[in-house]
């Protein structure tokens, strides 16, 4: 009886040594099982739609299935909190949205994660934000709009989504750079925001490019937050920069991994995303929907993210929103 136990233990030890020995000498290929792709927003939302476009190509590029996991709530914070608490083996990644992942940790006491804990893998898409009024508005150009705002402080209402979000930071930057006073009305999502704007309940809107494109027969876009003109849809609309307002505005999307994920695994994922996001399928679908394709690898993404974080921190400090 006793010797049998000993035998079992011994053979167990031998087996373990063997397994570990192999593991040390020849690291297992990554990935060898399914990748969980956390989506922090509702199914059907933009984050989900972009991820769904990538899903099939990504599975092909990685050679393993990619499964969407929805962890929704608190403007994405619930999902990112779950990510930083998940295993650091590269098998769990999450879509991340900028400026959300910068502003939430800046403005909330305990969002459950910090910006630096979300390790950048790849940045693939930006939804530009534009300033628009309805067709029947007396403001024909951005200049008309600004002239009126100059004389009538706070009278113009601008609809946006949420507070300390992409739209809100656009509003803060716009008013800071122009010195104008507008009234920002936050809505709980793009759908109610657009409905209220189209229904005449706000003067103007800071809207996502895809929403502006959807309603282009009912609205007049005054300025776009893109670097260059938003050619496919609004070739005649100036950018903020052309108007002398030195800012771009948009919501960018990428993917990130939990802190301390091994660098070689990040590299594998980065390469797969690069292949997918330069592919015909992804580029075609994104342009069709009115999004801009970006291709920032892990290092560039990190540098860009740090730059944005600095920019927003300075702005919020200047406005006295944070210390």
């Amino acid at each position: 009886m006793k010797s049998r136990t000993l035998k079992t233990v011994l053979s167990g030890v031998v087996a373990l040594v063997f397994v570990f020995g192999v593991a040390v000498t020849a690291p297992a290929a990554f990935p060898e099982k399914q990748i969980n792709y956390i989506i922090c927003f509702n199914p059907g939302g933009q984050s989900d739609v972009t991820a769904r476009v990538q899903q099939k190509d990504l599975a092909e590029a990685l050679g393993v299935p990619v499964v969407m996991q929805y962890k929704v709530g608190a403007g994405g914070a619930v999902g990112w909190t779950a990510l930083v608490r998940s295993k650091r083996d590269g098998y769990t990644i999450a879509g991340n949205n900028i400026p959300h992942i910068i502003l939430q940790p800046l403005m909330r006491k305990n969002p459950g994660y910090q910006t630096d804990q979300l390790v950048p893998i790849y940045l693939f898409e930006t939804t530009p934000i534009g300033l628009a009024v309805r067709n029947d508005s007396p403001f024909m150009t951005a200049q008309d709009f600004m002239d009126f705002a100059e004389k009538n402080k706070g009278v113009i209402t601008v609809a946006g989504v949420g507070t300390y979000t992409g739209h809100h930071i656009t509003y803060l930057q716009f008013t800071d750079l122009t010195g104008l006073k507008l009234t920002y009305i936050p809505f709980t999502g793009a759908a109610p925001q657009v409905a209220a704007f189209i229904g005449g309940h706000s003067t103007a809107i800071f809207g996502n490019s895809n929403n502006l494109v959807d309603h282009k027969d009912k609205i007049r876009v005054l300025a776009m937050g893109t670097e260059k003109r938003f050619k496919p849809f609004f070739p005649d609309v100036p950018t903020f920069k052309e108007l002398g307002i030195n800012m771009t505005a948009g919501i960018s999307r990428g993917v990130c991994a939990p802190p301390d994920t091994p660098a070689d695994r990040i590299a594998v994922l980065e390469k797969a995303f690069d292949t997918v996001c330069r592919g015909k399928n992804f580029v075609g679908k994104m342009e069709e929907m009115g999004f801009e394709v970006n291709n920032l690898g892990a290092a560039e993404f990190k540098a860009w993210l740090d730059g944005k974080k600095k920019e927003y921190t300075e702005l919020l400090k200047k406005l006295g929103q944070i210390k």
Binding site: G73, V78, A82, G112, I156, P186, A191
Partner: protein, 518 residues
């Protein structure tokens, strides 16, 4: 738009969709027929199973379950004198006596006929009214949403509970729950008690599962010794067609009951039980032989069943257009809609027109399916009422509540919240608080808060906050409705004293809880 209607009709004849509707109706009837399992519960538990379906399949299945469950309540109402769902309460009054007289089959056929007619009229009203209202929904700005939410809250006070005070307390508790998590406007996090998971707030579906399912399970366990005596019946030749003929020969009763049902359905928060009770009451008042009611009168069953199935369509009108559910089961559908990325409002009839119309048309099919399923499957369903032992049912349902609440956001915290809500719901029910007002408070709280803060901001920009709240035409109508519904209990009391109004309905024996909403 006409194009999407054609597409919608073509989706409807797809065999897959027809099977889903049939399965939904049948499943709904089974759940509805089991005493203790309500329609709200049926939908809440089955929503997670539609996650993997596309929007069309998921929604038509849920719609069919809703129709089936509301109808299914009549089996236990008639055969054991206990409503299978709260909306079948008024069906007991005449259904059970009829069955005791040996006319069980007639009673069930009558209920089936009434349900089909009521369901079809309700669906028609939904089809005609909701696109119009959706267009008008663009005129609803923040102040209108605010007043609409207040209107919904005043309904709590008048309709949702026997005790106004308890209704209000429940509503206030719901409002408090709605403030947990990220604030809808300012984005700051409240009442999360330092838990990052609570930032997301209390998910509606989670709360619904907790408040509506957990107490039922516990009640089931408590009452395990309770034996039901089933009145058995055999299908006899000729009864079905002759009874259906009799039902059809009551056009006034059918139409009146259906309209009452649909209108009560549209009013936020008032569910199928109220629809059925009001309709029953009106049927008694309009009848030449009011004394016959309560003793096994066909008209009583027709009034109740027609109204509660018409309520299904009605309750979806404010849901699809304004995102305010007309009844608790519709609140669950709101969760399902949002999960499919479809936001109530004009967009449902433009961007998502194809899906929306398929869903609307599917309700007609579902109601028509009630007829063969109910009549041919009737005996099987009625056997189920007594055959399924609680010792299997309770754990199964308990298991589903856990799966369901986790599946919505893949968040274990939601399971905890669900259980806490369930516990509160159970204790509350023991003390006479009903889950309806709490859930309504939870839904309306966010709408109310958003509308209020946005309106104040708009008011500041326009120079007069006062005018913004009280100077807009739709707002004025809504304010009038708020006052009307808030003062109604007092008016009703005064009228009752003078004998003008008689809202008393025969007291029901047996199951006294559960009479509100559901």
């Amino acid at each position: 738009m006409s194009e999407s209607i054609v597409l919608a009709l073509s989706h409807l004849v797809e065999i897959e969709n027809l099977i889903l509707i049939l399965a939904g109706v049948t499943g709904g009837i089974v759940v509805g027929a089991l005493p203790g399992l309500t329609a709200t519960m049926a939908i809440a538990l089955l929503v997670p199973f539609t996650f993997t379906m596309n929007a069309v399949n998921g929604l038509i299945t849920l719609g069919a379950i809703y129709c089936g469950a509301i109808y299914g309540g009549c089996f236990s109402a008639i055969l054991i004198g206990t409503p299978g769902t709260p909306s079948a309460i008024a069906t007991v009054f005449d259904g059970y006596p009829m069955a005791r007289k040996g006319e069980a089959e007639q009673a069930i056929v009558t209920a089936t006929g009434g349900s089909v007619v009521g369901g079809l009229i309700g669906a028609t009203m939904l089809l005609l009214l909701s696109p119009l209202l959706a267009k008008a929904a663009l005129k609803f700005g923040p102040p209108e949403y605010f007043w609409m939410a207040v209107f919904g809250l005043t309904i709590i006070a008048t309709l949702a509970s026997k005790s106004i005070l308890k209704g209000l307390i429940g509503g206030a508790f719901g409002l408090l729950l709605s403030t947990i998590g990220m604030s809808p406007i300012a984005g700051d996090v409240r009442f999360s008690f330092g838990q990052p998971e609570l930032q997301g707030g209390v998910e509606l579906m989670t709360a619904l599962i907790g408040f509506f399912c957990i107490p039922e399970i516990l009640f089931m366990v408590e009452q395990r010794a309770k034996m039901y005596t089933l009145i058995t019946y055999k299908r006899r030749k000729g009864i079905t067609s002759s009874t259906l003929m009799k039902v059809i020969q009551k056009p006034f009763l059918l139409i009146r009951s259906a309209v009452i049902g649909a209108v009560v359905g549209i009013v936020p928060g008032a569910g199928g039980n109220i629809a059925a009770l009001v309709s029953y009451n009106e049927a008694v008042r309009a009848s030449n032989t009011p004394d016959e009611f309560g003793k096994g009168h066909m008209d009583g069953i027709v009034a109740s069943e027609t109204a509660n199935n018409a309520e299904v369509g009605g309750s979806l009108v404010p849901l699809l257009t304004l995102g305010i559910p007309g009844a608790p089961p519709a609140a669950v559908l709101l969760g399902a809609l949002l999960l499919q990325g479809m936001r109530p409002g004009a967009e449902l009839y433009t961007v998502h027109a194809e899906i929306t119309y398929t869903f609307l048309f599917s309700l007609f099919v579902a109601n028509i399916f009630l007829l063969p399923v109910g009549i041919y499957g009737g005996r099987a369903f009625s056997r189920l009422v007594t055959i399924v032992p609680m010792k299997f049912l309770a754990p199964t349902v308990a298991f589903l509540t856990i799966i369901g609440s986790y599946a919505i956001r893949n968040n274990i915290m939601d399971v905890v919240i669900m259980l806490v809500c369930g516990l509160f719901g159970y204790i509350g029910r023991k003390l006479g608080f009903h889950p309806g007002p709490i859930v309504l408070g939870l839904i309306l709280g966010k709408i109310c808060e958003t509308g209020l803060v946005q309106s104040v901001l708009m008011g500041k920009a326009s120079g007069s906050t006062w005018m913004l709240f009280f100077g807009r035409p739709i707002s004025l109508v809504l304010i009038f409705l708020c006052l009307l519904s808030a003062l109604w209990p007092f008016v009703a009391n005064a009228l009752k004293k003078r004998g003008v109004l008689n809202l008393d309905v025969p007291e029901e024996e047996g199951k006294e809880e559960d009479s509100e909403l559901g």
